[in-house]
Symmetry: C2
Subunit: 444 residues, 2 copies
């Protein structure tokens, strides 16, 4: 998808284009990955503000000044991240104020907040540098740290917005303080929905959606992620309900075309994977429990489920059964099955799922066995081969995952297997078919 | 740390400054985090080439051209990532060739590689666009995909280097093909070592290292990571052994000053956490096994251990025991202990470690119980409180982790607890004390 081309100069109140400037030598050294830029870009694009440039500069006054002036000249909104702390190499605010001809003045509310933050602990005088803000700026309090953010006119008809660098401070400030402030300045309201898909590739999804992806309002765009993909539908209107009225029919159409590979639809347009969130929520609603017996995924499935708050309601216990001895002793997998078919076999995946269900007393049992690599593969059982069993007490489904076309990393093999298991659980809980899986009657 | 200021123009063969240009609208939309820039920056800095700018441009020919020309004017080496694929919006190579006055010509070896890649599968004609390369360029084959990388002189005395965007293709190409090529062009050889530290904060480490961090050759710099930190020592010499002779005494000094919080020293200067790698390797060498009983970490410790290839030798089985019933039934934790002290208590952590060791027959047993949040905290047992037990059959250590000062996320609480458990295992295996832990005689 090509970003929109729009006029950038002298637009006064309406913000159409933006530029992100991340400040910090640690980013240029590659010791920190610039996740802030992705977060800010997502939020701005969701508001209908097109991000046309994104750059990094080190903690160097001269280069920072040049970068700011270039950005003011070509973008309506310039957002900086980082460089607001109390140490001498934190320079963003000073340089940005200088470039826009503003004095720094003490902001009493921010002074007070810093005092409260350090209550009962030692607080250096340099901390209060963070409460010196450009005169007349709109201030955004920092609920997770000491450096407030702020925004002011850049003197060239646009706006400069400075935000703290630590993601734990930036993200809540952006979402709670900055987005509501910017909403009034985009000349319209944006509504967007994110349709999450598992089990169909980006190419196939794009082909099925066909002309839908050619529209301008709403726009329908596909994005690939590791092991899954999503479709984002965005519309602009004069009011939120006008924008939503454009989004909802398109969302309905997308879901109808794609069918049961759609596992959830989000309002906020976040692109996080939420297969585990969907599964935990389905289990909670059904008041059902789950246990897993993991071999090649080694706890990854349990880890993903327990990443979600409240997972304790749906997972009482789970097992990592790497060794054959563990499969026998803990799950009751018969030794002759292991000897005859090998640990990586549909028979063992089935016995693991059935065994863990029985041992745990859970509603669902999941067994995962495979070869995660990089070693241990054979021509018959190559790296990437995985069998997943799912048992609900009446039936047991066994799904085979073939090695992906490309030599996949250990992390990718494990991620893919845990995602496929989550999707099987989702399908069982929503009464959907299990494509590609073989179904057996569960053994007592 | 401030990046080095060096002259950038007309340096011909010696590369001192670099600039990274990531190409792709998905980066400006925030749907992809720019990890490539961090990887490239790390590698270039390790070679002694200072990265002074890093930017993102969308798939827009005009803005890409402007960005390239600006970069050629101010940096010795311009590295692009992305935009080399077979689709019409992949434009990096075409625009870079145009900016440097080179024709694109078919590269027979790359044609052959693309044919082999698609052997037995359908291959569109557009795939062969990827084998059209700037005349006279140095070509870097892509062992994981179809688009080769290449480098050529930019006509302004510097070098342009174009690399594919997918990290799975970029990283091996960079390490295996590009770095050896660049090594001859930096006017010196760089050696660097990375000292990994767990259990001491960046501030405390920097203070202890004192004047060591002020040197110029070697340089000694500290970097914080989530839950741990590291010290990087880098020196430049005319030959590798000259550079190493400068690095090794500084490394020895750093390790002596910091003591047993140093858990490993790496050659390559990668900044990956490798606490789990260290632990798996120690267990392998000692031919010992481990089992865990995880409550609040929910499988994260097992997941981290099994991220490492060969973990099957040291982990036969492991348990997620979320519910009290699971702690009782699977580990034999006495119900009166759970009733009297509660599941999050030193007594239960100890019983979990001792129980899982006995049940699994492993050399070491680990029990982790705590409150990961965001809910479930009380004034007596707040979110972030964790107890970790470690039993070797003779002794059981119990470590209490207090909630961190700031409201920590669920992911952070879980990450910190699993790292602290790994460090306890490392300390037991290397005969080090367990600071802060209480030691009991193990119960039979």
């Amino acid at each position: 998808m090509e970003e929109k081309q729009t006029a950038s100069q002298g637009c006064g109140k309406t913000l159409k284009t933006a530029e992100i400037l991340a400040v910090g030598t640690e980013l240029l050294l590659g010791h920190t990955v610039n996740t802030d830029a992705a977060v800010v870009a997502q939020e701005l694009n969701a508001l209908g503000i097109s991000v046309l440039y994104s750059s990094v500069v080190g903690d160097n006054p001269q280069r920072l000044k040049q970068a700011l002036l270039q950005a003011f000249g070509r973008s309506d909104l310039v957002v900086t991240t980082g460089g607001l702390g109390p140490t001498p190499d934190d320079l963003t605010k000073e340089i940005a104020a200088e470039c826009t001809g503003r004095k720094l003045v003490s902001h009493p509310e921010s002074v007070q907040r810093i005092r409260e933050y350090f209550r009962g602990r030692e607080c250096g005088e340099n901390q209060f540098r963070q409460a010196l803000l450009p005169e007349g700026a709109q201030v955004f309090p920092n609920h997770r740290g000491t450096a407030p953010g702020c925004a002011w006119e850049n003197g060239q008809g646009g706006l400069v917005l400075i935000l703290p660098g630590p993601p734990g401070e930036l993200v809540p400030m952006l979402q709670q303080e900055v987005i509501p402030f910017l909403k009034g300045k985009t000349g319209g309201v944006i509504a967007s929905r994110m349709v999450h898909v598992f089990g169909m590739g980006e190419g196939a999804v794009a082909q099925r959606l066909g002309e839908l992806t050619q529209g301008e309002n709403p726009t329908v765009a596909t994005y690939a992620k590791e092991n899954e993909m999503f479709v984002r539908i965005t519309a602009r209107g004069e009011t939120l309900s006008q924008a939503q009225d454009l989004v909802l029919p398109a969302e309905k159409q997308v879901c109808e075309i794609l069918g049961d590979v759609v596992y959830t639809v989000n309002q906020d347009g976040s692109s996080e994977s939420c297969l585990e969130e969907t599964v935990v929520s389905l289990l909670q609603k059904a008041e059902k429990t789950l246990s897993a017996a993991e071999s090649c995924t080694g706890g990854l499935l349990a880890k993903r489920l327990t990443d979600i708050p409240g997972a304790s309601q749906i997972l009482e216990m789970s097992f990592v059964t790497y060794a054959n001895r563990a499969k026998e002793e803990l799950l009751g997998v018969p030794r002759e099955l292991l000897d005859t078919f090998g640990a990586v076999s549909p028979e063992v995946a089935r016995a693991m799922a059935e065994g863990v269900r029985k041992v745990s007393g859970s509603f669902l049992g999941v067994g995962i066995t495979g070869i995660a690599g990089p070693d241990g593969g054979t021509p018959e059982k190559p790296v990437g081969l995985v069998y997943i069993g799912l048992c609900d007490g009446e039936r047991t489904w066994v799904l085979k995952l073939n090695p992906p076309g490309q030599a996949a990393s250990r992390a990718k093999c494990r991620g893919r297997a845990s995602s496929a298991a989550l999707d099987m659980i989702r399908r069982r809980l929503t009464g959907l078919p299990q494509p590609g899986a073989i179904c057996f009657s569960a053994q007592a």
